[in-house]
Each structure stands twice: as structure tokens, then as C-alpha cells.
């Protein structure tokens, strides 16, 4: 737990902002895929903290990349340089060590690029980033990935950038072209529907698929049991695990998706 000062806060592109926090006790500990649980200043009429993936981290600072979607994130946009923000973190399991014998495929939806960028920036090798969104302004960080030497493949639902369609179509096309060439390992972050579709690809192609789940959280510390997800255990039994503590990253085969309400995911 730390009180961090805002070093800078700026718009990255329409609807998305970057918040850089001075967090010398947290930042050096960060593993890619972890998140911070942030108390939004002046959000007095709502109680809970908000979870955000860590987008960048060095010795002194950590950066989050966020989209303004509701009461809290809208107020967050008003935070100013020099203000104090209370942070819990780094939280969650983070991505496992990538297997360097496999080509890494990163699949991102919207702000899902955030943890994947930290992952990519610390990887021993480059691979392919598949990044999707509704429209062109939802495509983030393609420059940054290209600067790291990654192949960036873009898909938008409205066709305003890259191929028109879902990010999984781009992934499927890649898989078809590269059939058998090289084993791959998937790392994905984005909406549930996307993660589920990515997970199916991982299973079909017999690749590992590491999916970062996005669940509404209470404590963020494993105490309240608000964020649970059914996870298949090594012995075949199915148990609740806590997305905040045991996750947010699970392997595609472990996740027991809900049968019903499939369309009800956000």
C-alpha cells in the first residue's frame, strides 16, 4: 500500500489517458499482468477502489493506461499532477515466464494492450500483436509495439483501421498462414467474449493461452470473494478462484466459462 504522487497525467488518444505515478515501493516489484487497486481522489460517494493493469513500470514510477467509462474513471480524468493517490499493489499473479522456444502472440482488446505492453517490453524475443477494437480510436499502442520490433496486426469492427472484423479473425489468418511453422504461446487481455474466443484458438492449436480476466472487484486482496471465477483444478475438480489474488491470469484450459448468459458478459 502506498500513497503515490501523480508525476504526469495526459491524454493518450481520444478517450484514453495515461497516468504516471511515483511509486518507488511498488514499481520495482511489478511483474507483467499485475494490477494496482486505486482509490480515486474525490470519489467520495462511491466506496470501492478501481483496478487497473500496470502498463509501464520502472524503478520509481508506474503508469496506467485507462479508458473513461463510468463515475470513477470520469473523476479520475480530473486528477492533477502532484496530487496524491492511494494505491494497493502490485496485485495478482501476473503472466508466467514466457516460453522462449515459442513465438509469443499477444491479443489485445481496447485497454487490454496495457499489461501486454509491459509483458512485451520485458520479453526476450518479439512476436505478433493482434490488437482489436470497435473503431480506430480504440487501437492503442501500435507504435510502441512496432518500436519494440513487433509485428502489429490491427482489426476494427467498423473497418476504420486494419482488417474489418474481430481480432480473432486476424489471429485465425495468421494461424492459417503459419500452420505448423512454429509453436506459439498466447497472451491475451480484453473483454470476456474475446478472451473466450482466444481461449478456443489456444485449445484448437494446442498452444498455451494465458488470459487476463476482467471482473468487478471489491477488496482486490482476496478477502471478500466478490471476484470469483470457476477454475478447473489439476485433479479435475472445479473450484472458485479469486480473480484478484489467484488471477487475473488463468490458462485457457483451466477456465470454466459460464454456460448461460453468454451474451451477458461485458
Amino acid at each position: 500500500m502506498a500513497v503515490s504522487l501523480v508525476r504526469s497525467h495526459s491524454e493518450k488518444q481520444a478517450g484514453y489517458r495515461e497516468l504516471v505515478l511515483e511509486a518507488p515501493t511498488i514499481a520495482p516489484l511489478v511483474r507483467p499482468g499485475q494490477f494496482v487497486h486505486l482509490r480515486i481522489p474525490r470519489l467520495e460517494h462511491r466506496l470501492l477502489r478501481r483496478p487497473f493493469s500496470i502498463f509501464m513500470a520502472d524503478q520509481d514510477t508506474l503508469t496506467i493506461l485507462y479508458k473513461s467509462v463510468g463515475t470513477g474513471t470520469q473523476l479520475l480524468t480530473q486528477v492533477e499532477q502532484g496530487e496524491a493517490v492511494s494505491l494497493l499493489g502490485p496485485l495478482g499473479n501476473g503472466f508466467p515466464e514466457p516460453n522462449n522456444d515459442h513465438i509469443p502472440l499477444l491479443i489485445a482488446g481496447g485497454y487490454g494492450v496495457a499489461p501486454l505492453y509491459l509483458l512485451a517490453s520485458r520479453m526476450a524475443r518479439t512476436g505478433v500483436l493482434f490488437v482489436g477494437g470497435r473503431t480506430r480510436t480504440d487501437i492503442l499502442c501500435d507504435d510502441e509495439f512496432e518500436a519494440l520490433g513487433w509485428d502489429v496486426q490491427i482489426a476494427t469492427e467498423d473497418g476504420s483501421r486494419g482488417i474489418q472484423g474481430l481480432v480473432t479473425s486476424a489471429l485465425d489468418a495468421w494461424a492459417a498462414n503459419n500452420a505448423g511453422a512454429e509453436p506459439a504461446e498466447l497472451f491475451a487481455c480484453g473483454p470476456d467474449g474475446m478472451l473466450r474466443a482466444v481461449g478456443e484458438r489456444a485449445i484448437t492449436h494446442n498452444w498455451k493461452g494465458w488470459l487476463s480476466l476482467d471482473k468487478h472487484m471489491g477488496c482486490g486482496m482476496g478477502a471478500c470473494l466478490a471476484c470469483v471465477q470457476r477454475i478447473r483444478q489439476p485433479d479435475g475438480s472445479i473450484e472458485w478462484e479469486r480473480v484478484c489474488k489467484d488471477g487475473p491470469i488463468f490458462e485457457a484450459r483451466e477456465i470454466v466459462w459460464e454456460q448461460e448468459n453468454e451474451d451477458n458478459h461485458e
Binding site: M1, L47, L48, R49, G218, A223, W240
Partner: protein
Amino acid sequence: MSDSDAMLDLAVNIGELRLKNPVMVASGTFGYGPEYADLVDLSKLGAMVVKGIRKIPWEGNEPPRMVEVPGGLVNAIGLQGPGAQGFVDKYIPFLKQYDVPVIVNIWGTTLEEYGEVAAILDAADGVHALEINISCPNVKEGGIAFGTNVDTAANVMQMVRKNTRLPVIPKLSPNVPNIGDFAKIAEQCGCDAISLINTLPAMVIDIETRRPVLTNTVGGLSGPAIHPVAVKLVWEAAAAVNIPVIAMGGIQNAQDAIEFILAGASAVAVGTANFVDPMTPLTVIDGIADYMRRHNVQRFSDLIGALDVH
């Protein structure tokens, strides 16, 4: 520590249990111990109250299980837990590392199960008291179904009392017009203290999908929103009995806790505020000490019930 600090006495007794200070964490909001242990030294707490445990492991409700509302949150966790033996095996060794009384919140779907879980925990070394949950709004059987009728509440209390020598603390439902009657029944059943309030039954609807936000349809409201309601109930319950009252409901800071104490509570528990700021129990302890210093109160017990009603 100054001279006057050395003389501050924050200790308080709950039955035979001596607490080094009157600030606990509320069941279900601090896990089983390990969750916050890196941030908060458990030995500094008045007591650690763990999440509700029944005899057998229990799945709880389908998510979503929690939704934020103005001034609070509504939860329907549904008492997910590892079961009595699972708790003993998995968490007691950890908790024993700390110098803190462990109070286990227990429940069952039948009278017999309340007795059985009490017996299992009584036999375990490292459990210091039992809080009987007869007030959870989030399970179909058990919980609140027992807690809103004086007779069934009494049956549960007697059953638990029979099965343990540990201090027994029924946790009362706020959802009754006559809280004093429930407090008195607890005293008559030989309980060592009472605790209140549990969450208020509540419901949130998503008007776009036209469905309840929580899969369980109803849940329990906690947080600052319920604090004035809790103060009133604690005041009424404390007036009705001579056994100690443990108060909870919306505590965010020392001031909220002191309101309860003046209203008659011997101890308090911090719940939802742990999610906002895990340090809250410690800042509440410090804040009570500050208040005592400012008001020249040396023994905490002199504050209990020190309300001057018009």
C-alpha cells in the same frame, strides 16, 4: 509514548475473552487472516473475526456477488467457505502466529448443523470465540431465516451454547422492529455478548437489462449508508442487556466507532471500510486513543455507554 499514553487503557473484556483494544475486523471483510497480513499486523487488532463457516465446504452464490451503491455496497457472497474442518486445517496454523483472539463466524442450514460446527471449532486449538450468524440475508436456508424470529433465534443460541465452552456471540439481524427482545433472548440463553448489525436486505436492478444486478436477486447493504441505522439499533440493544455489545455497520473512522461506544458498545468491528482502506482498523484504534487523551478518559470502559440523552 508519553506518560499519559502509558496510562491509556484500551483493553476490554468480551465475556472471558480479553481484547487488547476494542477494534475488530468484521466477518467476511478480512478473509481468514492471510489476505491482509502483509499490510496489517494482525497482532494489533482487538480480534480477528473470520468469514462465515458452516460444517461443510460451501460454494456461495453465483457471481455477480457485489455491486456498489451510493454510500455503500450490496453483497451476496452467500457465505462461500472451506467448511469447519477445512478452516481449522488451512488457517488456524497461520493465525496462531499472531497474538490475536480469533473469533469464528458460524452458520448452518439446520439447528443441528449450528451445533456441529460449534463442536468442531470448540475442539480446535486456536479458536477463541464463536460468533453465530443468524442474520445473513444472502443464503436461502440458515442465516436470517433463524434471526428474525425470537424462538428460532433462541433455539440456535441454546444449541451453540450446549456445544462449546467458548464465548458465544450471536450476531443479530437488523431487520426486526424489536431488537431489544433479541438481545434479551441472547442474554437469557447464556450468550457472552451480542454483535450487530449485519447487512440490511437490499436489491439493485439494472434497468437496461431489467434484471437484478446480483444473481442472487437480493443482497445485503453495508457501508456508511447504514451507520445511523446501526447506531440506533446498538443503542437500543445495549440498553436492553448487561452483556457486552459488539457494534458494526458503516464504520469509516474513529468518530463512527466512538458513536457506537457512546451508544453502549464495548467493542466495534470495521467491515466494508477495509476494502476502501485496509489500514482503517489501525487508524480507528489510534483515533479512539486520541479521543480518550483529548477527553481525559484513561480507561476505555469509561466511554462505554457514556451518552447523555436529552
